[in-house]
């Protein structure tokens, strides 16, 4: 139910966090012994933060314009609910990415057809930078950094031509440096391949225009592709397509060996018949893009929609989430074998925990669940509910030294 809980709002929680940090700073400034700080922390049921690295789960969140922002929680902090914060952005975000050279900073990209990005410092809770795309362009919700962390790539579209662009910016100033052709329409998620030189781009194939909101303008002619571009000059190195032309490739994740898992959203309204389409696929280097099989009744449960994908390198497993199916499912990256599934209401956010032990799932009710990456069984004792949070499509996991 909306807003019936008496839980603190994200803003309240943020203020509590700021007060706690300010008190700690004051005590330290007064030269009080760490033991004193420890006592204060204990009163707040906070953990011993002398342990250097703290895990953060970070996601766009919010239900309305007053709440939209980048939210995060420290799941292992022992005070997860109190650790939850939101940096209000003023727009609905979609994907988030950690800055490789300034790990405290996370960039959140507005969902299409938005035009803004914000950079948030997770330790201060502040928005530290903000930029917009050029006139006549809109974002598609995702970004990635170059291997050296000095450039930022965002997926964008040219309103007029409808062509997909990969815009290159200076990652310290976010100044526009140039742009590459995405070699498709409606580029959505992109990532840097393990070689550090190649961008892989999910060209969804769907054309939209801000004047008509999110309405798809080219259902009949849509063409989706998975494109590999040379990041330095945008040369198309490889292109993969699915046999189903109405499957829009939207999201992707990459294993350490360059195997790419992709999640699609099938445009059922444009299809001529009722056949079921596998909404997940894997591209192994040197082979063609392969749909991931499953029993038809299970495939139909996804309702033609997968919202996020995450690869677990150690287990060689790709997890896919389907908020329209209330379902997460897991396939082996090499054998393409269905390994398991888990039902979870409105699940979309999906990442791998820092210790690699779990797939982490989030939903719009603020719930977080962990699936053991080895057994693919959920651990109900580790469930978290952050009532003030409404996790949006994508979640990332990262660690920060909170004592620095």
């Amino acid at each position: 139910m909306k807003s019936r809980s008496s839980a603190s709002t994200a803003t309240d929680l943020h203020k509590q966090g700021q007060q706690r940090r300010q008190t700690l700073k004051t005590l330290l400034a007064l030269g009080l012994a760490p033991a004193t700080v420890g006592l204060l922390s204990a009163c707040n049921k906070a953990p011993d933060t002398s342990a250097a690295a703290q895990e953060f789960w970070v996601s766009a969140q919010g239900r309305d314009a007053s709440q939209f922002g980048l939210g995060w929680v420290q799941p292992e902090a022992g005070y997860a609910s109190q650790s939850a914060h939101t940096a209000v952005s003023g727009f609905r975000g979609h994907g988030a990415v950690q800055h490789p050279l300034r790990p405290d900073a996370v960039l959140m990209v507005s969902r299409q057809p938005g035009t803004e990005c914000v950079e948030v410092n997770l330790l201060s809770g502040e928005v530290t930078a903000r930029f917009a795309c050029k006139p006549g362009r809109h974002l598609h919700g995702h970004a990635c950094f170059s291997a050296d962390g000095r450039q930022l790539f965002t997926t964008e579209s040219d309103f007029v031509s409808g062509l997909g662009k990969i815009v290159v910016r200076d990652a310290s100033t976010y100044q526009w440096l140039g742009e590459l052709d995405s070699h498709g329409i409606g580029p959505h998620e992109l990532k840097m391949m393990p070689d550090g030189k190649t961008l892989v781009v999910a060209n969804g194939g769907l054309r939209t225009h801000p004047d008509s909101g999110r309405k798809i303008l080219n259902l009949d002619t849509m063409r989706s592709s998975l494109s590999y571009l040379r990041a330095s000059d945008g040369v198309l190195l490889d292109e993969q397509t699915l046999t189903e032309p109405k499957a829009s490739i939207r999201h992707l994740d990459i294993a350490a060996d360059g195997t790419v898992a992709v999640a699609t959203q099938v445009q059922r309204a444009a299809m001529a018949d009722n056949h079921i389409v596998a909404p997940g696929a894997v591209h192994t280097p040197g082979k063609t893009l392969q749909p991931l099989p499953a029993p038809v009744p299970l495939l139909s449960q996804f309702n033609d929609y997968m919202g996020s994908v995450a690869v677990h390198n150690g287990e060689r497993i790709a997890g896919f989430s389907s908020p329209r199916g209330n379902l997460v499912a897991f396939w082996h990256l090499d054998r393409h074998e269905l390994l398991g599934y888990h039902a979870f209401h409105d699940v979309c956010g999906l990442t791998v925990s820092h210790d690699q032990r779990y797939f982490v799932l989030s939903n719009s009710a603020g719930q977080l669940r962990r699936i053991n990456a080895r057994t693919l069984q959920e651990q109900p004792d580790l469930r978290l509910q952050i009532s003030a949070m409404h996790w949006d499509n994508h979640m990332i996991s990262l660690t920060l030294n909170t004592t620095s």
Binding site: S3, R63, Q67, R268, A269, P295, D346, S364, A365, H390
Partner: protein, 361 residues
């Protein structure tokens, strides 16, 4: 302060004052939107509509099994007519339940029980040709037609469609003439084995759904009714969200697939079934004669009169399109109602269907 939170607090405060002043809720008390009133509406809907529908489907399934046995003891035209009427009654009962297709009917992600009842529902595929071929094959071979055979058949071969074709058609040429069909039953006793096996298999599914709702859901030791009303569903879906999503998905199915022109073609009972489904949608929102509180009344109390009117108007349009047997416009009105269940109704009840579900990217 968040507007919805503010509104909820006002509603809650108003309800608290009313309860304090009146000493509890009575039938004639003004309706207010509180968690308590939503819970009560859901409980009434469950006990006055859902459980009776589940029970009715199981009862009608058993009645079909009995009627098939009676008919097969001495096949004649009168018996077949009665059997055909019982199939229509059973199909009506199913279409009453179909917008409420969650819980025990849909408790397995790979092999949900409902597909063994209604093969069309999964993705709108018409398996009539498959069923006709199966019946002809079985009439021509010596396969033992026992319960094990039917319990293990794939969903395409069993359920309401298979029974319909067996009861309303002569297998050899799909003739729908009563005399032709009766003559085939008289000449080929194996056709009675087929309807007996099919009706028993269907009854097993119907009893499973009833048992799940009222006795023990998936070995939890608790009836699904209890889990549902106490918001303890496995996947964390709140009960009211589950209900509205189920109805919405059914309406999406009506608009995406050609249900009105594919379902119940042998019996010619497709349009009455569409009417039953729309009646069921209305009952979800309006309750029935046993209701003291309905979702519509709560929406109205929350100031969403216009939304209620819009939904009523779309229900009326659906009925008119059914009356005119206009499949295209019926799909259009189903799409309108689908939108109502995604937006106006959840908004009016302050129910969150999930931002990722409703507005993903």
């Amino acid at each position: 302060m968040n507007f919805l939170l503010f509104r909820s607090l006002i509603f809650s405060a108003a309800a608290g004052l009313l309860l304090t002043a009146c000493g509890g809720e009575r039938v004639n008390d003004p309706v207010t939107v509180t968690q308590s009133s939503l819970d009560k509406a859901l409980q009434e809907l469950t006990d006055n509509s859902i459980i009776p529908a589940v029970n009715d489907f199981a009862s009608q399934s058993a009645a079909l099994t009995n009627q098939a046995e009676v008919f097969c003891s001495a096949p004649d035209a009168a018996g077949l007519t009665t059997l055909q009427q019982q199939w229509r009654t059973l199909a009506d009962s199913w279409y009453h339940l179909l917008p409420l297709n969650f819980g025990p009917a849909d408790d397995d992600l790979v092999f949900p029980p409902y597909i063994y009842i209604d093969s069309l529902r999964q993705r709108g595929n018409n398996y009539s040709a498959t069923v006709r071929s199966e019946i002809n094959t079985l009439l021509g071979n010596t396969t033992e037609l026992n319960s094990s055979y039917f319990d293990n058949r794939n969903f395409q071969y069993v359920g309401l469609l298979a029974l319909e074709i067996a009861i309303f058609e002569r297998a050899s040429d799909a003739s729908k003439n009563i005399t032709d069909i009766v003559a085939e039953y008289q000449a080929q006793p194996r056709k009675c084995d087929i309807i007996s096996g099919l009706s028993n298999a269907l009854q097993v599914k119907a009893d499973y759904i009833r048992s799940g709702w009222t006795l023990n859901h998936k070995a939890t030791g608790k009836p699904y009714r209890e889990l549902f009303l106490s918001n303890q569903l496995d996947d964390g879906t709140p009960a009211l969200t589950q209900l509205l999503t189920s109805a919405q998905e059914f309406l999406d199915y009506l608009q995406q697939r050609n249900v009105a022109t594919v379902a119940a073609q042998s019996s010619g009972y497709n349009w009455p079934l569409m009417a039953t489904a729309i009646d069921s949608i209305e009952e979800i929102l309006q309750g029935n004669s046993a209701s003291t509180l309905s979702l519509f009344s709560l929406m109205t109390a929350a100031g969403y009169d216009a939304a209620v009117s819009a939904v009523r108007s779309n229900i009326a349009a659906a009925r008119e399109n059914i009356s005119n047997q206009d499949a295209l416009l019926f799909k259009s009105s189903a799409a309108q109602l689908d939108g109502n269940f995604k937006r106006e109704i959840p908004d009016g009840l302050e129910v969150d269907l999930g931002i990722n579900f409703t507005d993903g990217d």
